[in-house]
Amino acid sequence: MNYEVIVVGGGHAGCEAAVASSRKGHKTLLVTGSINNIATMPCNPSIGGSAKGIIVREIDALGGVMGEVADKTLIQMKMLNYAKGPAVKSLRAQADKITYPKEMLKLLNEEKNLTIKEAMVEDLIVKDNTVYGVVLDNEEKITSNIVILTTGTYLKSDILIGNTRTRSGPHNEKPSMHLSDNLKKYGFKILRLKTGTPPRIDRSTIDFTKTKREDGDKKYYTFSHTNPPVYNIDNQQPCYLIYTTEETKKIIKENLNKSSMYGGLDDITGVGPRYCPSIEDKMVRFSDKEKHQLFLEPESLYYDDIYLQGFSTSMPKEVQEKMVHSLPGLENAKILRYAYAIEYDAIYPTQVKPNLETKVLNNLFTAGQINGTSGYEEAACQGLIAGINAALKLEGQEPLILKRNEAYIGVLIDDLVTKGTREPYRMLTSRAEYRLLLRHDNSDLRLREYGHKVGLINGEKYSKFIEKKNNIEELIRKIKETKIIVDNEKRRIGTTVYEYLKNPSTNLQNIIETYNLDLKYNDEVIEEVEIQIKYEGYIKKIEREAEKMLKNEEKQIPEDIDYDKVPNLASEARQKLKEVRPLNIAQAIRISGVNPSDISILLIYLRKHYNE
């Protein structure tokens, strides 16, 4: 049986990759260890969050599916950072861990070019540095033109609890035993990473009177740019806030050496994320802090597990019992699943090109945790890009490479392939130097056309976008023409609405209502216009900076350049350039260890040897 694309792994990256490739008309096979585990959420029960919510919007704008599925299955929705500025607003949904994977599976099953197969992939079919398919654990071979690896935490993964190390995927699933060794054999450099998850608590054993209730927003939001909301704002599930106690601290300190990370195991090589430390890490690193904040988050409407956010640990089970019981409201709590840390293999992402194809093997793409990232959204967006670019390669088209001023997705992939990572990479707004351009509100304006061009955004999705875009232009034109003569306190204004709006204390919706202006547009259009005008000066400034970067993006570096022949490069720069092999000067500038003088030298060399 021959496929055009084989996707290995049915997590968030794999689902997006499989859908993108099959929707683009390519015969696609999704191989997963377990069909029941497709698109599960093995860690936190939420989708979105600061910066991550914008990534989900971007996925939706390009024609991915995470946003739509989250919209259908969310049990709470919040707009984060509402008052902190236009660029940092971001959605977070509590997603139902039962219905989200179900909806995703339903969606995959509806794709006519997509086949799903339950099996473990242990090797690739490789000839002349090119991949031709996969080899399963029963030695069955399946051929394809392109393979996309989205293996998540399943490469040689070990579950760590106290002093026990068990080779296993998350929640006792089967890991891939040999794939990472085989990747090493083909020339990949392998990176060992680590992450963790907190315990799950039986809802009925928690005394919620000792907690602080946190509700969802009383306003409707969707990740989708097209679909209307389907949840009921009055029927959202709350989360609950509690703090660790003196007793918790004492228990952790007394038992510290039993934690896998603090002596329980002496063979830990995996590097964990700094932004996501275990509770014992927090107690050690921030020992002067009296208490730490924890959230109790419902995992689903259909079962009783409560996710104890902020309490990930690799303590032995009996210590976890004591720790949990030291928390307010959880004195008699029953732990349904114990917390654990997990170590897994990934590849050094600098071995991947910006289109997500590997430099080591042709026609092999990688996305998600195998590239060193952490998080469902980070994985999904890479899966989407890998799926799109696999298809574009089959079609003989140029790849879709988003720039740092166009999308968080562009920032993420560029960071990975240019700077690499040593810890699981999570997206943060601080990573985006042009974040004022990468907003929640304009994700469609930034990316819808790309989605349309690659063929994933059509019909209603596209026509609604065009309508919104036209409305925005029309409204801007109108408010440039509309004058406000006097304000409601009879003070003379005499400027256009456009000018008046630049005053920080004004609000377009209020202006329209106060002056009965004949400007009837929906909230989205009004918000977009308001942001564009109110922050015009700042946006233009950032755009100018981005233009400088883009100018350097245009300066391509030939693929065949031999850095050993470029005279006078500093040796660190030479080594980094050889490793990353940047596509253009802008990317070269971003490599740490490559200095401005090295860039000058490189530019001169290029001009000498490749122009006229």
Binding site: C43, N44, S50, L80, N81, A83, K84, G85, P86, A87, V88, T197, P198, E214, L241, Y243, P273, R274, Y275, C276, P277, S278, D281, K282, R285, F286, K289, K291, H292, Q293, Q309, G310, S312, L428, T429, S430, R431, L436, P504, S505, Y535, Y538, K541, R544, E547, K548, K551, P567, N568, A570, S592, N595, S597, D598, S600, L603, I604, K608, N611, E612
Partner: protein, 448 residues
Amino acid sequence: MEDTIAAISTTTGVGAISIIRISGSDALEIVNKVFTKDLTKVKTHTINYGFIKNKEEKIDEVLVSVMKAPKTFTCEDVVEINCHGGIATTNKVLEVLLENGARLAEPGEFTKRAFLNGRIDLLEAEATMDLISSKAESARKISINTLTGETSNLIKKLRSELIAIISNIEVNIDYPEYEDIEVLTNDSILPNVIEFKTKLEEIIKKSEDSKVIKEGIKVGIIGRPNVGKSSLLNSLIEEEKAIVTDIPGTTRDIVEGNLILDGITLNIIDTAGIRQTNDRVEQIGVERSLKIIDTSDLVIYILNNNEKITYEEKELLEKIKDKKKIIVVNKIDLENKLDKSLLDNYIEISVKENIGINKIKEEIKRLFNIGEITSNDMTYLSNARSISLLKKSLNNINESIDEIKNSSPIDIVELNLKEAWNNLGEVIGETYTDELLDELFSRFCLGK
């Protein structure tokens, strides 16, 4: 769109006119901000008369050549300012340009641009290109070595204070649900930003006051009449500023000449010959000379190889015992009559035969630790560069204070704070981009 660069393109300190060249897409816009006439309306390849001003203060009367791309040396918009006001004024004009958005050009950068834009061919560019390549390392040093260790530490400290404010804002944005992180509002960051501003202003003042940068080094040349003080001054500054005759006592007034040694200005003062005299006019000169010894940073004491050392000269040797000094024995082309055993450290020269002048320059450099860098002018210019970056940061801070007061969202306020932080980073050559993330993770306790 390349950034816009500026530099003094004539040899500083030589010639009456200095030319500052500005190249890049914002060249016209930047000069226009500080010129008395609207340059956006003038035709390309024209020369325009007016004044360079810093806000309302007129700095220099200038001629400005406007050359729009592509028919220019670099194929970019180029503006050249002909300054008339001497080195200090020219430097001031350059500083104002840097404050208004230009960046100080690296050595050879105009040529580099000309080459990269296809304006000149390889042969023409080769020399400059090799220079850039081989100077790469020293160019890296240039940007960081000119501030004193003390100032550089102050800036590091400032940066860490600023990053603390920024990372507080960032952590509020990236981890919005954390209740135990102090929620920052505009009101709560204002005092911190204002405190920061005060410190920054202090450092700017300090940098500007830095004597070596602002005034240069005061060098007094002393010695008995007719030992060759004026001749030495002339050959040091290579122009005939002091009147040289063979009649003792010709120099009655203190003559100043400027010498730029690796970017540091040496103000050379030629005193009237020190000699017991009854001549009233000359008497005043001698008094002043003795005063000069007290007020100069360096004394060059000239003795005549051809004459025996006098009582007065011995007395003077005693007077300058504890000063930073260079003892010079001139006229070594003539017969030795001077008892050199009285001197422990001296340089032998002959101004007439042009022997040993460079040794004096080398000794000055050694005494004041001027420049490991040999490329001319860079040291001073990088100071101008540092100060302009500090001032840019200050502008950013002022803007952010306005924004805080106008209740702009914190995300917008932060734009200027970050830019200030980046500008400060450039001063000390720190461009480590992950610093902010490191700060975030080390200072705040976050996680799932």
